[in-house]
């Protein structure tokens, strides 16, 4: 088992060495867009991209002083704009998801651990504000037993009013390399053979692990 793990991590790092950070960010962005739930925030990747953006911004300032050809400046500017767009879209997308599933995320440590520190702060304040608002506008006026934010009434045995992402939904995914026979359900009745460059529509829940492990791309 350990040798298999080593092989895999070696393969992953080799693949990462060959790809640029922008490519990795684009993959993270696409996966995030296509996945129903929030995925793990790639802190090192985002800080690397930020550094590169900052570096290029400084270089562009230097260009203005040294009088580099306009064409070259405009090309670098386009590169910068594209990277900025990707990063902004990625961060914004995550904030949207956090906003949508605030309650669900803030009650699970696993989900909270997927957020960046800033996102955690956002999630916390989002939950507080929402709760306060609901409390003031509706819940305080409801009779006892029906005034919980998360439960319909006292008789509810679990939180039944928290919006959760639908993990049962179907997603489009593309395999990067051979995954082999893959079990789609718990009972093993449905098995697909995932070979490289295959395109499938599958239930997100069943391929969740592959997405997290970076072995399959959502599209």
């Amino acid at each position: 088992m350990s040798s298999w793990d080593d092989d895999e991590s070696a393969a992953v790092s080799a693949a990462e060495a060959a790809t640029t950070d922008v490519e990795l960010l684009r993959r993270a962005w696409r996966n995030e867009k296509a996945a129903p739930e929030i995925l793990r925030f790639d802190t090192p990747l985002v800080s690397r991209v930020r550094e590169q953006i900052q570096l290029l911004e400084e270089t562009l300032d230097d260009f203005a002083d040294t009088g580099v050809d306009d064409l070259v400046v405009s090309l670098y500017q386009m590169d910068l704009d594209r990277t900025l767009f990707l990063l902004r879209s990625y961060l914004r997308l995550r904030l949207q998801k956090i906003e949508k599933y605030t309650m669900h995320i803030s009650r699970s440590d696993d989900l909270l651990s997927r957020l960046s520190p800033q996102e955690r702060r956002f999630a916390r304040s989002c939950a507080e504000i929402m709760e306060k608002h609901l409390e003031q506008s509706v819940l305080s006026k409801l009779p006892y037993g029906y005034d919980s934010v998360t439960r319909q009434s006292l008789s509810s045995t679990e939180d039944d009013m928290v919006p959760e992402p639908q993990l049962d939904t179907f997603v489009f995914c593309k395999t990067k390399s051979d995954v082999g026979a893959f079990q789609l359900d718990d009972i093993g009745e449905e098995v697909v053979d995932l070979v490289a460059d295959d395109l499938y529509v599958l239930r997100y829940k069943s391929i969740k692990g592959l997405v997290e492990g970076g072995r399959i791309d959502l599209i």
Partner: protein, 229 residues
Amino acid sequence: MAGQSDPHLSMFSPSEVEFVAEDEIVDIVPNIRMDALNMICGDFGPFYPQIPTKVPLWLAVALKKRGKCTIRTPDWMTVDRLTQVLEAERESPREFQPLPFHYIEISKLLFDHARDDISDAYLQVPIVLKNCLLLVVIMTQVRSLIEDIRDVRFHKVETGLETISGRTHAVKLKNLSAMEVNIVRPFMVRTLQAFYKHDSPQMIQQADTTGSKPTPVTDRGPRRDLRRR
């Protein structure tokens, strides 16, 4: 933020798909001398006049717009190759032919920004014959071939949708392209979700407890094999 109201069904906007396609690498022939560009998205160049080099499509289009290069038409975008693809596409009703993942976006961008290069690329006839009319004819031919291919492929997707049932747990769509995925996504996801929901044991159980059907819950019948497209 338009189009993001229901992020789970139509997640990528067409312009976002195009944005991704713009990072595909194409061959250009520059007509200027320019130092290498060390960009965030990669290192490209150096550029010398008449020496072909590889750059991402957005960079190629930017240079082309300023008249600094010609874009080489990709191999798959010639009349010969596209005619072959179209024929193969018509002959195999259950499979999609391999085309670049972003063929629709790439061809659109090239049609919009590098139409003169498209006809030039494989026009091996004497200069005398290279008159405007001929260029237009070839352009139109390439464009209509791609449109035909899109139509044939999309028809396959549509007929494929009809075969989805409650037992469909996976749909194989090998070689479907990015834009095609994007177009078919809302229908496909909704259909599969609806069938999945109504086929789930809980739903069947609910029907049982209301007394309409006395079928045992476990009896879900043999699962069918995955559908091949």
